[in-house]
Amino acid sequence: MSGTPIILADAVTKRFGTHQVLTLVSLPVMERDVVCVVGPSGSGKTTLLRCFALLELPSEGRILMEGTPISTAEPDRQIKSAARAVRSEIGMVFQHFNLWPHMSVLENLIEAPLRVKKMRRDQAVAMAEALLAKVDLSDKRDAYPVRLSGGQQQRVAIARALAMSPKVLLFDEATSALDPELRREVLIVMRQLAQEGMTMLVVTHEMGFARHVGTRTVFMDRGEIVEEAPGAAFFDAPKTERLKRFLQQFEE
């Protein structure tokens, strides 16, 4: 591994009141990396992603983007302005999609480019249409989110995140809320993004995705990173007892 990580958690500890949820988590994500995070529920995966997405402040430690600190427990002026500058370069896809129901699919996609990037409307629309084609939803351009299946909504949410041309995309169990038969269409889009070189940090229960698409997989348990390994090695040669036991759940 060389160079500066696109995004880096540097010894992040997070407490809610007295409840410690993350303990000294350090995790670099390099350019074109697809880092998968697995672990039992309640182990702090969502909280870690939310720290990366600047939705939570760490209690200790820092988040850095391309070497610049963008989040600490008590961010000073400089860190706050750095965070503002890069905020929209960190995209996030949520478990429950969080599309805006009062806007059509197209409006969901162009909202941030228009308001945040001050993009021209015709430009934003053209880009949104290209993204919809990419996630295979061109025919839903003017539909409202309620009219879409969960899988379609999640693909729109991915397109909406891509519309800001993020340098890294965070996925928080993007397929967990979906019926099994709808997961595939979302996973296909995610795999395609990985192949195009998108830098991704993916919290998931899809072990197939982690094994075949992930460049590296991280195992979290009780707020700590217990073990990590590249690609198939993670699954074929787990070192710790905790990971072995966790992986057993996924074997038939």
Binding site: S88, F94, H96, N98, W100, H102, E111, A112, R115, V116
Partner: protein
């Protein structure tokens, strides 16, 4: 009730007089609603203010208004306000101010729950995409919150139609007051007040039904 000789003609004879009162009822209700919507917004903003004193004022107004009878508030505005500020207040103005104050306290809650009905995730999605808090409030929260507040506001209008009958006490010439005047001269309270009750019902009931349907459709979304 035995052998009562109905004399509906005494009511028909004064139909225009009563309908004039109905017009006043509707005007008062509409004007009050507009004023109460503005007042409710002010109270809601006070409630959510960053400053303790303002929050305290907002909460106090709400508590006082909700925990005293509306009729007493009305009498207070009509009889006490003029003394305190040594001004003359028309009965009509006092009625609108009194009702609006009362209704504003409830409408501020309507606004608050409308805003709270917008899922946190929608705001977080906006935040991650880089929208400022103000942009996200204007573009994401407000449009959804307004949609949720419209049916309750319509319900408030129905309530106001009924509450405005309290204007009779301070001699505002709305339909109830005119009914009182009419029955005092025709000695036919049964016909007169039955007719007036039916008029209220025919206006309020269909509105209430329509609002219920509307709300159900919003829930289904």
């Amino acid at each position: 009730m035995f052998k009562y000789q109905f004399r509906w003609d005494t009511v028909w004879g004064s139909f225009d007089f009563l309908m004039g009162g109905l017009q006043m009822t509707l005007v008062v209700s509409a004007a009050t609603l507009v004023l109460a919507m503005i007042g409710g917004l002010i109270i809601a903003l006070l409630d959510m203010s960053r400053f303790r004193v303002l929050r305290w004022i907002g909460i106090s107004i709400g508590e006082v208004v909700r925990n005293t009878p509306i009729l007493v508030q009305l009498l207070w505005v009509y009889y006490v306000l003029p003394i305190v500020f040594s001004i003359r207040i028309e009965a009509l103005v006092a009625l609108i101010i009194g009702l609006a104050l009362y209704q504003a306290a409830f409408i501020s809650e309507v606004y608050r729950s409308g805003i709270q009905s917008v899922p946190k995730g929608h705001v977080e999605a906006a935040q991650v995409l880089g929208l400022s808090p103000l942009q996200s409030f204007r573009r994401i929260v407000l449009p959804q919150a307004i949609r949720m507040t419209l049916p309750p506001l319509a319900s408030n209008f129905v309530q106001l139609i009924k509450f405005s009958s309290l204007g009779a006490v301070i001699s505002v010439s709305e339909i109830t007051r005119r009914g009182m005047e009419l029955s005092a001269s025709n000695f036919r309270p049964l016909e007169t007040f039955t007719f007036i009750a039916v008029v209220y019902f025919l206006i309020c009931w269909p509105l209430a039904m329509a609002i219920r349907l509307w709300e159900r459709r919003l829930q289904a979304r």
